[in-house]
Amino acid sequence: MRRHYDYIYAVCRRVAGNDADANDCTQEALIAVVKGLQRFNSQSSFRSWAYRVATNACLDELRRKKRRPVPTDLDIEVDVHTAPTEDRIIVEQLYVDGALRDLDENFRTVIVLRDIVGMEYREISECLDIPMGTVRSRISRARQQLMQVFEQTGNKTPPTERHR
């Protein structure tokens, strides 16, 4: 459990979009995983199964709260020369949260499983029970949308990105 915790939390954090919901989602996800262990079919990948359960639990928790990720204001001006590192990190989090928030849930899930957990397309396909071709196209479309969002707010990109 400790081995998977950080990834499950990161998935929930990105899917939920804020710390408060991410904490609740993570708790629900962990409980769902341990309670579902007896139903786990040992013939399949445990990782795929665990993240499927965790992702679904997180999405259910968000639906139960009838809450989408909390909107964040991207119109934040940061002085790239004077802003402390911590501030830049927080602003970066807000940018990413805001961009992911605007994604469709299906797109958000695949991109999170790919870029945070590092799942292969085959694993994501098993995890979400969708064809691999769908995984590939959803990831691509999600990335295009995210890149558009970041390009629109490019002047507010944190200095670590802008001056790379």
Binding site: M1, R2, R3, Y5, D6, Y9, A10, R13, R14, A20, N23, D24, T26, Q27, L30, I31, V33, V34, K35, L37, Q38, F40, S42, S45, F46, R47, I89, E92, Q93, Y95, V96, L100, I111, V112, R114, D115, I116, E120, Y121, E123, R136, S137, I139, S140, R143, Q144, L146, M147, F150, E161, R164
Partner: protein
């Protein structure tokens, strides 16, 4: 740039393209620019601040408590406010009894009051480390053990009695063999002496003596063979403690005790992780109930003993995760 090329660039970043598709992306300047953008994008998404240690531990404790509760009829034993009494509460209840923090192990961090969770059950579990018994109680085991002991004693007595009877029979058979052999020698001597005389009596005595001697010899041979068989070393000597025996099916509630492995395990509650790179057999003890998750590397073999004898438990390694399974 077309959607198709975007998709190819995206798949290329993820290493999910065929050689032809990879070559196509690498030969397209625009696709290469997109590849760089996607890599930066992925890096930004991937950067998630780690969870606070205290919240992390609370999450794990609550999940383990839920697991234990689910494994014991949805109830957990907690201390009531009255320190002298304990009670069982139903996790499904909306109004659980007030819980009191009773850590079962020394903890580095004191639990918080409610962990910030709205669900009262979860909040209670998070805020209170529930004393979890790592081994479910099997009350039916006591009478079963008694019955097994009785059967064992009965069987041992029967075995001893059988051996005594068999020994007596063997002694008698040996006596018969000696006697009949002597009779045969005597009969043969008489036959030589008498030669042509008393042919019928001699033939009868010879026949009887031969038959008896033959029977006794056969019995003695069988006896000797059995004795030899008993004294001979077993074909399958007892294996070493850390030798993997077989992949037998284990019952779901099998109590397993780890007696050897080719890696080193930590024994944190029922969930443990394999420390990679350790090759020496570990004598650590891991008590748990299936299913047990053990993180580890592919190819690890664990040997467990159970109430019904030593059993091999295969480690199914998938993507560097391994899980103990009840069968190979």
């Amino acid at each position: 740039m077309t959607d198709e090329l975007n998709e190819l660039a995206s798949a290329y970043v993820d290493g999910e393209t065929t050689p032809d598709e990879s070559a196509r992306v690498e030969n397209d300047t625009q696709a290469q620019i997109t590849v760089d953008k996607i890599r930066r994008l992925s890096s930004r998404i991937n950067s998630v601040a780690p969870q606070q240690d205290e919240v992390r531990e609370n999450h794990i404790a609550a999940a383990l408590a839920a697991f234990d509760a689910a494994a014991s009829d949805k109830t957990i034993v907690v201390d009531k406010p009255d320190p002298d009494a304990t009670q069982k509460i139903d996790l499904r209840s909306n109004n659980p009894a007030p819980l009191r923090a009773v850590p079962n192990e020394p903890q580095d961090q004191a639990p918080t009051s409610n962990g910030g969770y709205s669900d009262p059950n979860i909040a209670g579990l998070v805020g209170n480390v529930v004393p979890i018994s790592p081994k479910p109680s099997y009350r039916w085991l006591a009478p079963l053990a008694g019955a097994a002991a009785f059967v064992l004693v009965l069987g041992a007595g029967f075995t001893i009695a059988s051996q005594d009877t068999f020994t007596s029979s063997s002694d008698e058979a040996s006596s018969v063999a000696v006697a009949t052999t002597d009779s045969a020698v005597a009969a043969e001597a008489r036959q030589v002496e008498q030669q042509a005389g008393s042919a019928s009596a001699s033939d009868a005595a010879d026949t009887d003596a031969d038959d008896q001697a033959e029977s006794a010899a056969d019995f003695a041979d069988e006896d000797a063979a059995e004795v030899e068989e008993e004294s001979a070393p077993a074909e399958s000597p007892a294996p070493a403690d850390n030798e993997l025996l077989s992949f037998d099916v284990l019952p779901d509630d099998a109590e397993l005790e780890m007696i050897g492995s080719n890696t080193e395990l930590s024994t944190d509650f029922q969930f443990s992780s394999c420390a990679t790179g350790a090759n020496d057999p570990s004598g650590g003890e891991l008590l748990g109930y299936l299913p047990i998750m053990v993180g580890g590397e592919r190819g690890e073999l664990l040997v467990f003993s159970s109430e019904t004898g030593r059993r091999g438990v295969s480690v199914s390694a998938v993507d560097n995760q391994c899980q103990l399974l009840p069968q190979g």
